[in-house]
């Protein structure tokens, strides 16, 4: 049986998140060692940019050197590695004993019963039939690619222009090349699909690279025996991106603050959107400070507070209609299981108060 660890979009960076990104790399290498994988595949965007690849290659070499003895490492560049790339420089970089598969349009690498059809990022794949890829020789073929695949590309609502820039690949390509598993990168949201008998998998970004990347970060453990089995392994050190819409009471308090922060992990990235009408602007600063304290104390890796939804309205706390509204609103709280109802309920609070706002203080 052959085990392959499929990792994508780690975005190692030499800038602000250097330690964080390298710590996730360490965890990935640790998982590969623990699980005794035969191959570790980086399906693009291993580095955040070409400059990062240049800056971090020494650290990368050092880190992978031990694992590389037991496990083949394949690195197929994505669109990010090409950012700021200088002509002819990629192959000149030494990433250590790995297979750098940056030859376009493809590179075919054989490892035992498995051959890897490595397709580095390209703006257009539509001429794939002219690539003259050799017929499948090994028992299994794994396509490693960094591209959007229609039907699998999710929408995060963030930086969409970034996604548009990347090349898109029709799923027909995988059936055409008779792949059994497509180790995909580029889409940061975990997703899976099929193309004929080929399983298509995006494990999602291996770490939180930007806001909006909700959910567990991790890698896919692909076990190849008689068939292909895929298991998602979450990465603890990658943490999670968590987003909360938090209503402020009229006097600027947050209900259940302890309960909220209690769920967080030190590697998490938290984004909180505070909203509501408050009596005094100073109250907002106080609660904001309370949240930011969580980062300083190491309770979370990063926390972002959005207070644009908070409107200080002097006198609101004593406005009877606001009080009446909140009292009645509180009574209409749905059950915790009803997440849609909960969202609607929270939004109703925001909208009700917003509706009062123009009339207060006139």
């Amino acid at each position: 049986m052959m085990r392959i660890l499929h990792c994508a979009d780690l975005h190692l960076t030499a800038r602000d998140e250097r330690e964080y990104s390298l710590s996730v790399l360490d965890e990935i290498l640790g998982v590969a060692a623990d699980r005794e994988t035969d191959a570790l595949v980086f399906a693009g965007d291993l580095f955040d940019s070409f400059a990062d690849a240049e800056a971090l290659r020494a650290q990368f070499r050092e880190r992978i050197s031990r694992l590389a003895a037991a496990c083949g490492i394949l690195f197929v560049p994505g669109n990010h590695e090409e950012r700021g790339i200088r002509p002819g420089r990629f192959a000149g970089l030494d990433f250590g004993p790995i297979d750098l598969c940056d030859e376009k349009p493809f590179q075919l690498i054989r490892r035992g019963d498995v051959e890897f059809l490595c397709i580095p990022h390209q703006p257009d794949y539509s001429a794939f039939e002219q690539w003259q890829v050799p017929e499948k020789q090994a028992k299994f073929r794994i396509a490693v690619a960094h591209a959007s695949v229609p039907g699998l590309a999710g929408y995060t609502g963030m930086s969409e222009e970034e996604e548009v820039k990347a090349g898109a690949m029709d799923r027909d390509i995988f059936t055409f090349f008779k792949a059994d598993y497509a180790a995909l990168g580029h889409i940061h949201k975990k997703s899976a699909g099929t193309a004929g008998s080929c399983a298509l998998h995006y494990p999602g970004s291996a770490r939180v690279w930007r806001r909006g990347e909700i959910g567990e970060r991790g890698v896919n453990l692909v076990s190849i025996d008689e068939s292909v089995q895929v298991q998602f392994l979450p990465l603890r050190r990658a943490g999670q991106y968590r987003y909360y819409d938090v209503p402020l009471s009229l006097d600027g308090n947050v209900d259940g603050l302890e309960e909220l922060t209690g769920r967080w992990h030190p590697a998490d990235t938290i984004e909180i959107r505070l909203f509501g009408l408050v009596e005094d602007e100073k109250d907002v600063a106080v609660i904001q400070e309370a949240f930011l304290g969580c980062r300083r104390s190491g309770k979370v890796r990063e926390i972002v507070i959005d207070t644009s939804g908070v409107v200080p309205v002097p006198g609101i706390a004593s406005t009877s209609i606001a009080r009446q509204f909140l009292a009645r609103w509180n009574d209409s709280k749905p059950s915790d299981d009803d997440s849609a109802g909960m969202r609607r309920w929270l939004k109703a609070r925001e909208m009700g108060l917003k509706a009062i706002q123009p009339y207060v203080g006139r």
Binding site: D170, S320, R328, G352, A355
Partner: protein, 762 residues
Amino acid sequence: MLKKLILNQYGKFGAGTEFAFGPVTVFSGENEAGKTTLFDALGEALCEGNIDRSTMLRLNSRYGKERRAALEQDGAALAFDSVVYQNIFAVRSSSLALENPDVSDWAERIKSALFSEGINPLRIRADLEDRASTDGKKSHNKALKKLRGEAEELKKRLSELEAERAAILSGRRQTRELAGEIAGKERVLATLEKQRAEMAAIISREELIMKRRSLDDVLEFLHNGETLLAQAQELAPYRENELPYYDTLRKKSDELNQRIAQLRLQAENCRERAEKLAAGLRELEAAIPAMKMAAECAERIKDRIAAFQNTEAFVQKTVWKKELITAGILALCAGSTAAFFLGGLPARAAAAACGVAACLALVLTAKRTRMVRDEQAEKRCIDEICDNWKNSVRDGADIRRETLEGMRELMMMKAVEYGDAQANAARMSQEAADMRGRMEQVRLDLMQAESEASAHESGMRQWLADHGAASRDAYQEKALRSRQIAAALADWNKKLDALLKQHECKDTAHLKRECERALNELDAQGIPKSGMPATELALLKKRHEDVLNQSRALNDAVTGLKLTLKGTQGYLEGRNIAGQICAIEREIAKTAAEIEQNELEREAAAEAARIFGEIAADAGRVFEDLAREFARAYGEILPQARAMEIRGLGKADMKVADAGGEKRSLDLLSSGTRDSFLFAARLCLARRSSEGTSVLVLDEPFLTFDEDRQRKAVAMLKKFHDDTGWQIVVLTKDERLVDALKSSFPPRLLVHHRLSYMRCAM
């Protein structure tokens, strides 16, 4: 707090007219002093940017568009909605009711200014319901529909792209098939080309062999030419036109020989004839004596017979011929019978004539005269003659005849025979003599002919000898041969010319050299002298041609297919459909998220609206409060408390008890009572409308009030000011009211502007 009102080109007030304000400001003056203008200007300044359309139209028409009214204020600036302002903050005695019929939603606006802290839950509910609604005309009403429209458009575009993708996939399949087809055809083409090349090599070699053969042929042809030339030269003397001379000789010779043969035959015939004649003559001459004797004897016998016949030995008798008689009778009978049966006179007459004629003929012909001899005497005479013959002539011939007549004829014959024999002998003798002469002539002719023939023979021999031929046939053969050779040579020359032209050689020697050189080259290439049979080569060439044609057709087909393929590939390569689909999918997801957010906000707005609806449902209590407040305030003006009923803020919604205690609608109250109610109500409304300090503008508020009510109203105003701290602005022509105000409010609080016609005119 209002500090200063600055007017520019506002009605009567020219540029830079300023009016200062105190906590209580009184503007007094006679009619047309500018109080109403000031009231309007202050209202416009307070409601700047928030003036309802009808008011704005009125102000424009009344004061022109050049007018300007600005306020200087202290602290939080006051700003009003014109409708709210006019109904709550600005009190005019001429207003018959609270409502403003020019503004449709005045009641809503007033309510929102009145309830709770001046916030109307129904208004908020309406706002939220509008926010939740998709029916309105505002952009947020249309947003969801627009988003859904966009989503539909995107889905349509996606399905078009999917269709295009399917077409491309199918196009790819076709392209693959096309490529496969091309590869297959190219394989066949390669095989064909290989076959064709092999054939071409063989054909080329065979053609070299053929060339070699043709060169050999040319050389042989040249050699043949030489032979022909030699033969022609050799046979040149042998000409067929020489032969007629020889043939003339020959003909003459033949004729002579023929004549010689004839002459020889004649000579032979003559000799034979002469011999026959001699023999006949001898025989005749030998017979003649006997014949002479027989003739002489016959003469005597004839005489004896004549003598005998002259005797009476013969009797003449007439006899009937019986046969003829019988025949005559039978004919008669037959004729008679016929005549009888045929009838008729002429016939019977004819029959009778016939009968008579027959009888006559019978008689005439049936009678014959016959000599009847004496046979015995005749016999004895005959015997005597025969004996005489025997004795006289010893030829032994039997001369006996039956009758003497016969004997006489025989005897006459013997005389004739003898005469004939004599004549014959003479003739024969003559003939023999002629024959001898003739024989001599023939001999002479023969000799001459033989001499001539001999001369011709020798002439012919001499000709043959002269022409070097053993015989005429030999000569003729050679002459024929010569002619044939000459013809062949002419033919050869013609061919030679063609060959020279073909090989571009000037003469045979040149041609020969060229051929030999070419042959040497072919030898050097090892081209054998013989190859496959021509038919086989022709077949091979035919096959080569076929293969070539096939190959060309296939090549054309492949070229066509490649063009198609190129077109298809070009189309496929130019279409990054996956990228477009991804982009559209993102757009769809984005729109879906926006729709979801929009729906969430609408649902949330509806939920919030519901809550505000609940709050508003408690409006009755608010109105009760308001009514109580009105009553209390009203009571302060009136001599006694009045009952009242308030269901709403419309004129018809309010009823007030008159002095008699009967509840009446506002229209039915006395103007003083109504105005005092409205003043009290406005103070209440004003008091409820805002928690902060504001301004109350009163334009002739107490015009219809009696002195007592005016006093009470001023006191009420004073209390309102003390309670709320609101600024109060009063405009009036009533100096009593000015005095009353001056006595009620301390001078430090009151600013009095006396307006005059003169001032305004400045």
